[in-house]
Amino acid sequence: MIMKTTSERNKQTTLFIGPQHPGITGNMMVKLLVEGDTVVRAETHIGYLHRAFEKLIEQRNWLQSFTLLCRFCVPEPDPMELTYARAVEAIEGREVPPRAKYIRTIVAELARIQSFLLWYGGQAGSAGLYTLGQWTVGDRNYILDLFEDLTGARIYHMYIWPGGVRRDLPKGWADKTRRVLDYLEKRLDDYNRLLFDNAVFQKRAQGVGIIPKDKALEWGVTGPPLKGTGIGNDVRKDEPYCAYGELDFDIPVYEGGDVWARALVRRDEIKQSIRIIRQALDKMPGGSYYNRIPNPMKWRLPAGEAWVKTESVRGEIGFYVVSDGTEKPRRVHLRGAAYTHGISVLEKILPGQNIADVSFILNSLGACPPEMER
């Protein structure tokens, strides 16, 4: 430890952002050491919402687990369901019917869009731009309506489960989805005018919160933050799952590593998601949507383990699932992108930044505390 003179120390103050703070992305806290307006050191503190999900799941059977799993992260329950289901299927060797794979793809992409719409609100809001958030959260409701029609619930769908999906597409759902997508596509221009064309946002976002390209992979950065450094890794392309291998889409990549680049990636991802969903609707195979599991109360998986990863909204999430041959998982471990982004990456890039940009940067990383504390 470096000894500081009294005068030096007196210039520095400790500041806490969160756990009660409008700019924090959930129940977490960033402890800052600041000198003037500048961050000297940052520490992420978690522990405000530990719900022992991973442990609790060990007491549930394979199916009961999934009603808890989706709650790992409010803005994106579906990738959790999807990844867990795929891990269970991998251990059991259970086939998923093609139709289910397509439906899963659509759900995962709708989840991505709705989550990005929430992100718009947070990102703009933390720059003091409140109008955009009102629009995007309002528009997000159209997607939640689609989820309601499809799954019966708006947020926690509990829809993708081992063997496929829980119910088939309702009548007319595909058309309604197409209409929502057409509307959203048009709205993206409105969003642009409020955010990317906005001088305030330009000034705040450009050159701020930079993740150096040469460090990005080393630090374990994934998702939009990684694509914003110019590296186009994406699980959907690199190790295609669901129907991604059969669909055309691009991975948006921007250079710079700053908040601006990350925001552009997300904006473009929405367009790609719309493109993916349209194709999936067009190519939707017939047949069964569900390869029936045995009676859930007596469903035993063979002993074994699986590590399965998915490109979630915030980056790569992976489930490590271990079965000891009984009705319940021996271990379910989640490794989400937020864990890296919200702790180690945040702590590395905050020093030197302005205090006012802390929330702004945090939002651009997509840090979701429940994913850090499982």
Binding site: G138, P170, R193, N198, R292, N295, M297
Partner: protein, 599 residues
């Protein structure tokens, strides 16, 4: 300020044009939200359809569902009488409860708003507290979307053409894989246990089978059934009648699973090794048992385990009573019974065969020689048809005919046999006659659907070529000059609902007399008991009802230290498992009695 900056300040002002737009939000309560057709709101439960199995409560990991008593709903076979109550402070609306509901009674509705200051208002009994939910059902589970597996693993069986060639067992039993899959369908609700006369631990042994622990299953099974392999093959399986899955699909094959498990123990020694029962020190108390049928054997086995000195007196030369002499071998092979009885003998049960009480040894002698007596003499005599010509040669009582065949004899039934009756015994008579090479016509007073016989038996008989004439009442046996059966005359009947309501009665249609030519006739219209073995003073102190001895819940008769059970008493139904239950509970009662005497 640069040009770009100016643009960056002006463009966002475009947002102002949105002011004129309709808002996304709705004005509640003037406007209500349109709820989608699959919405998962508050539950609704069809209280009449619900069977109170509690599967909803079992799957709910939030412990939001309790099974509670509800006014005006009584338990009955196949219905626990309980109904789910949901705590909306805990419910997460995952709807797993709906997807695992076997009866399909539970669903979710479009309702989701409830305002109350009283926390208890959020404990709701769906269906009772929201009867209007019926018309707002949005999320339910059809048999396609349900998580229950409604289809049973089929049992392999011999083809009908092959069956009638011999007395080989018709059903071939589950393979290990089939048994595991079938066992995994059980939802462990226990409605079956309630309806089993001896309350076997059904969900527990099925669990063991599904886990792959057959030996544990066998141990659980032998806890209150000493003839389980027999039950695994021929039980009347009232458990399956009330299986939760049977409401919308096929009941779990409880009987076949028991058969599967018990057949893993291939001989008496293996049963002994696996069950490895705790046998109490001999207590010197002697109990005599009359009749080695299921009732007598069961009482003997469980008393022997409790340290009693057991002697069974049996008129016939083989054990088992009607399961040996009545049930045909293609349903229950000889070796299967022997194996189970050998195991009982290894526990210390002694059986004196060819010893008819009342003839070879007196009741008094047995009564005096033992500290207590259990009587399970069954129903050994068949009812007669009560029609003209019945004394002809070639007219049989079903039990006599089946007894003879089961002893290995092959009576000559001629070319065509007429069987009268609609119960299981009649089906056995018909199917055995087919195996003896005869053509079989069966007459029944009502319709096939009204037959008390097991559907499986009726189906089996039809497959094997038995012809059933419905609504036919025998009126006369026609003899030839030598006094042999030549034919059977019957009238057609029509079913008339009685005035007071109830089951329609067959009433003969005048002038519809028809004659079928035949060489033999088998009357399978019921059996009765023979209490000739009991001295007058004993008979006088017993109560009889419809030709059967009345016993209390503990199977005590009115005579001191005399217990009775099985077909000969008026308690349960007339089947093997009821006889086993009688033997089992009598054993408990006898033990309790002597415990008290000692104390």
């Amino acid at each position: 300020m640069s040009i770009i900056d100016l643009k960056g300040l002006l463009v966002p002002l475009g947002a102002l044009k949105q002011i004129a737009k309709e808002p996304h939000t709705i004005k509640y309560p003037d406007q209500t939200k349109e709820i989608s057709e699959r919405y998962r709101g508050f539950h609704y439960n069809d209280l009449d359809l619900c069977i109170g199995c509690g599967n909803c409560s079992t799957i709910c990991m939030n412990e939001a569902i309790d099974m509670v008593e509800v006014e005006d709903i009584e338990g009955k076979p196949g219905d626990s009488g309980l109904r789910p109550r949901i705590d909306y402070g805990r419910c997460c609306y995952c709807a797993l409860c709906v997807d695992v509901c076997p009866s399909g009674s539970l669903s979710m509705t479009a309702d989701f708003i409830k305002v109350s200051e009283d926390a208890f208002d959020f404990l709701m009994i769906p269906g009772k507290d929201n009867p209007g939910g019926k018309d707002k059902i949005t999320f339910d589970a059809s048999t396609d979307t349900s998580l229950n597996l409604f289809e049973r693993v089929p049992m392999r069986e011999l083809p009908p053409e092959e069956r009638v060639q011999s007395f080989a067992e018709v059903f071939l039993g589950y393979t290990e894989e089939e048994a595991r899959i079938e066992a995994s369908r059980c939802i462990t609700c226990g409605l079956c246990t309630e309806n089993c006369p001896v309350h076997m631990h059904i969900p527990e042994y099925i669990n063991a089978i599904s886990r792959g622990d057959d030996e544990e299953a066998i141990r659980i099974i032998y806890d209150n059934n000493d003839l389980p392999e027999m039950c695994g093959k021929v039980c009347t399986r009232r458990c399956e009648d009330v299986c939760a899955l049977q409401v919308r699909g096929e009941a779990v094959a409880i009987r076949w699973l028991k058969r599967y498990a018990t057949e893993r123990a291939e001989n008496a020694d293996m049963i002994r090794r696996i069950v490895n029962p705790e046998i109490r020190e001999p207590n010197g108390i002697k109990v005599g048992i009359i009749g080695a049928g299921p009732a007598g054997l069961t009482a003997g086995y469980y008393l022997a385990l409790k340290g009693y000195d057991i002697t069974i007196y049996e008129a016939k030369s083989e054990p088992g009573g009607m399961i040996m002499y009545g049930i045909p071998k293609y349903r229950l092979p000889y070796d299967s019974i022997q194996k189970q009885v050998d195991y009982m003998k290894s526990i210390g049960v002694k059986i004196h065969f060819n010893t008819k009480v009342g003839k070879d040894i007196s009741f008094d002698e047995i009564y005096n020689k033992h500290d207590a007596v259990f009587m399970g003499v069954g129903l050994q005599k068949g009812y007669t048809l009560g029609i003209e010509g019945e004394d002809a040669e070639g007219v049989w009582a079903a039990v006599d005919f089946l007894g003879l065949v089961n002893e290995g004899k092959r009576p000559d039934m001629g070319k065509r046999v007429v069987v009268v009756g609609g119960g299981d015994v009649s089906m056995d008579s018909s199917r055995v006659s087919r195996r003896l090479g005869a053509e079989v016509v069966q007459l029944y007073r009502r319709r096939i659907v009204d037959m008390p016989a097991d559907d499986e038996e009726i189906e089996g008989a039809l497959e094997e070529g038995v012809q059933i004439i419905e609504k036919a009442i025998p009126t006369r046996v026609i003899k030839d000059e030598k006094g042999r059966v030549k034919g059977m005359e019957y009238v057609r009947a029509e079913l008339v609902p009685p005035e007071g309501g109830g089951r329609p009665r067959p009433v003969p249609i005048k002038g519809s007399e028809t004659v079928i030519e035949c060489d033999s006739i088998i009357a399978a219209i019921g059996q009765k008991a023979d209490f000739g073995l009991l001295p007058e003073k004993v008979q006088n102190s017993l109560t009889f009802e419809r030709g059967k001895i009345k016993v209390d819940d503990e199977r005590r008769t009115g005579y001191p230290k005399l217990w009775a059970g099985g077909d000969a008493v008026k308690y349960g139904r007339v089947d093997a498992i009821s006889a086993i239950a009688d033997g089992f509970y009598a054993a408990e009662s006898i033990d309790a009695y002597f415990m008290q005497v000692k104390a």
